[in-house]
């Protein structure tokens, strides 16, 4: 690989990484969202990717419907 092509690769990778990081960190896009889970007196707040959060919330809601115990409260903000 010639040095110019290697330089092009470096610029491509750097640009893609910077822009991806900016997009993920942008609060308007909500790529990362806070999920707070409350069970009894304990509350846990975690910052996770939106897709994972939606999957987790869906699973928890399904579990709550099937469970006879006191339901957990799940809030996504």
């Amino acid at each position: 690989m010639s040095q110019f092509v290697a330089l092009a690769g470096g610029i491509s990778a750097l640009t893609a990484i910077i822009v991806w990081a900016m997009a993920v960190a942008d609060p308007k896009r909500k790529q990362l969202i806070w999920v707070s889970m409350t069970a009894g007196n304990q509350e846990i707040r975690v910052l996770i990717p939106r897709t994972s959060a939606l999957i987790i919330v869906a699973k928890l809601r399904r579990t709550n419907r099937q469970s006879m115990e006191e339901p957990q409260r799940v809030a996504v903000s």
Partner: protein, 136 residues
Amino acid sequence: MKRGVAPLLWIFGVIFALIPLVFDYQHERLANPAASWISVVLHGELLLVALAILGDAIARACVSDDNRLRRAILALGSFLVACLVINEAVQIREAVERFPQLDLGSYLAARIASDSLWGFGFAVILSLATLVVVED
């Protein structure tokens, strides 16, 4: 447009732009059954497609209503890579014109082909990143 359709359309467009290279390869194979894919990319067609893809990325970054800083970074990155791709294409052209009797079936041919392929790959990565960020 539905989410995820734009990248699919883009990939379809790139594959469509590469179809002439397949015909070129078939043509080369008919003329010389021992011809490899290297002979197809030796004239810089792949770099031409890469340049078109980068031009599309620059235009998308300029006209979108995304974050201004993000658009500027994408446009500048695409422009720099486009300059380097043009430089590579000019170097290939110069080498072929300066040495018309050059044995391009040698080390140089493999190097030009590899550089074309890498240049195309980097252009695809950057353009796809631009598309995903801008259109999302």
